[in-house]
Amino acid sequence: MVNTLTPETTERAHGPRSAGPAVNGRAQTRRRRHQAVVAYLFLAPALLFFAVFLILPLGFALLLSTSRWAGFDLGDIDPVGLDNFTGLFADGSTFLTPILTNTLLFALGTVALALAGSVLVATCIDNLRFQGLWRTLYFLPIVTTVVAVGNVWKYMYEPGGLVNGVLNALGLGSVAFLQDPDTALPSVVVVQAWASVGSAILILTAGLKSIPESYYEAAALDGAGPGTVFWKITLPLLRPSLLFVCITQFLTGLQSFALIIVMTKGGPGDATNVAALEMYRQAFSYGDWGTASAAAFVLFVVVLVVTLVQLWIFRRKGEDA
């Protein structure tokens, strides 16, 4: 490692800055070369890892997405061009509807619910004492494994579970939340939102703390009511935090499928199937590595586009703010 890297240190001259006039030029050169060698040694584990587990996999995934392969001998990879991609969008394929649609609905629903809930709770916590205690409480779902969250809610949604128990106590009939194709996706969305409200509250709290108290005092002098204060002061000044929560939640929502595996396995039918889960299944249940890799890239593009659009909105809003 050291030997292969030493020649590169001759490029040192292009390095960032030189520490003033070279009083002792040769010693300094030697020291810099030494520092470069050490730096590469310190970086070696990380760089090696990125080469094997980041760059190689990306190339491998790209190769697989344009191939047909039985999954055994690496010599048997058949290039098929874009067949896997066209297959995903062919007539009769379930990938566009309902799977990709579900993915977007799942992400959108989660963001909407989590955002509304966290804005409400975060602004209210800001009015109270023992703020740390409240926030810790709201944080419980985040440190809990998705297996726990999924199973507890799955059980609560059952006919003899807590949610239906409450409905029955109110005189309402039971709902087959996860078994009914119409209610399955919204039911899972509620759980995903429930699990992510805590961290959103945290980000929004940081945003709330940065709003100067003097704005509120001025509003009070003008006799503004709490509703006006919320809509005209709190919400607009919270916009950077809101958009940040929005972007990161949306990203998470588009990608996550662990909760769905635990709660519904994508069912009933394809009612809760999402793109990442479909990719997982194509690969590890059906052994169709090509289609699975193609699905992964399509989802990647969706994630990228959604993020860029949001960043664009973020920047525009930032300008007129």
């Binding site: 970086l43 584990p45 209210c124």
Partner: protein
């Protein structure tokens, strides 16, 4: 001041929300104490008739709990240790050492955070299966099951974390160069400078990063599921507890699952309550989980 008007409304919202947050956990604990025929029956009852501990015994008996626990602990410890070590090493180089290609490598580290994890499930799995000279493979990765037969499979894809490198680098940048220079003049090598001066100064951020990594590794499900489907010997706690679902006694399955879940989240819960300040800071630093 005006902020603090109408506290009753705030209390109403915050308490309602808190109840909604905590009740599922309480329901889990209550169910874990329910006796045969008490759960999943109508009408729904929140409290158990008697606090029956047999579900915990059944969960322990049904699962090979010591093995699951061992696998989870080993995997989590290795991942956390490795992330801390590689992050602080690479972070130091990127923050405080001058070398050609520094900006390029820093940009590479930043870009690793851009790629979503699902993109790597398939290639990572295939790389581990075809790992040369492991698990019966030849030099070209043919013939055996590669690294998927060992606990390494649980760990390897998570050993380095781009965000960890970024985070430690950001903190190390603020350490004054004069301090490091003084140590070097006193004859300390770069390794000693890193270990004796830089690492102690970055302790707060390392604790934060360690805690974040620990919780994520302990709770990891999808990858562990994948690996232990190939090799049940490396099953972790979350995967094992999910399997309790297939427990045969229909009047008792749910209480036993809930008992297992309660046991599995206890270690993280305790750690979180002890070190919540660091953890909360970590989530704020890293954006959202």
């Amino acid at each position: 001041m005006n902020r603090r008007r109408f506290p009753w409304f705030s209390y109403l919202v915050v308490v309602t929300g808190a109840v909604l947050t905590v009740v599922p956990f309480l329901d889990m604990v209550m169910t874990s104490f329910k006796g045969p025929g008490e759960s999943g029956t109508l009408p729904y009852r929140f409290l158990p008739e008697a606090f029956d501990l047999s579900n915990y015994r059944a969960a322990v008996a049904q699962l090979d709990l010591p093995v699951l626990f061992r696998n989870s602990v080993i995997a989590t410890a290795l991942i956390t240790g490795s992330v801390l070590l590689t992050s602080s090493l690479a972070g130091y180089a990127l923050a405080k050492l001058r070398f050609p290609g520094r900006n390029f490598i820093f940009r590479l580290v930043l870009s690793t955070m851009m790629f979503p994890p699902f993109l790597f499930f398939i290639p990572h799995f295939l790389i581990l299966v075809h790992w040369p000279l492991a698990g019966g493979n030849d030099l070209f990765g043919r013939g055996g099951a590669g690294l998927t037969v060992s606990i390494a499979a649980l760990v390897v894809p998570f050993l380095v974390n781009g965000f960890g490198i970024f985070l430690t680098r950001q903190f190390m940048v603020s350490i004054p160069d004069e301090v490091l220079e003084a140590a070097r003049i006193d004859g300390a090598g770069e390794f000693a400078v890193w270990w004796r001066i830089v690492v102690p100064q970055t302790k707060p951020v390392l604790v934060t990063l360690g805690l974040l990594t620990f919780v994520d590794a302990w709770n990891e499900y999808i990858w562990a599921l994948l690996v232990s489907t190939a090799n049940p010997d490396v099953m972790t706690l979350p995967v094992g507890i999910q399997l309790l679902q297939d427990y045969v006694d229909p009047t008792r399955t749910m209480p036993i699952v809930m008992a297992g879940l309660a046991l599995s989240i206890l270690p993280v819960l305790i750690l979180f309550l002890l070190l919540q300040k660091h953890y909360i800071r970590g989530v704020m630093l890293s954006g959202l989980k």
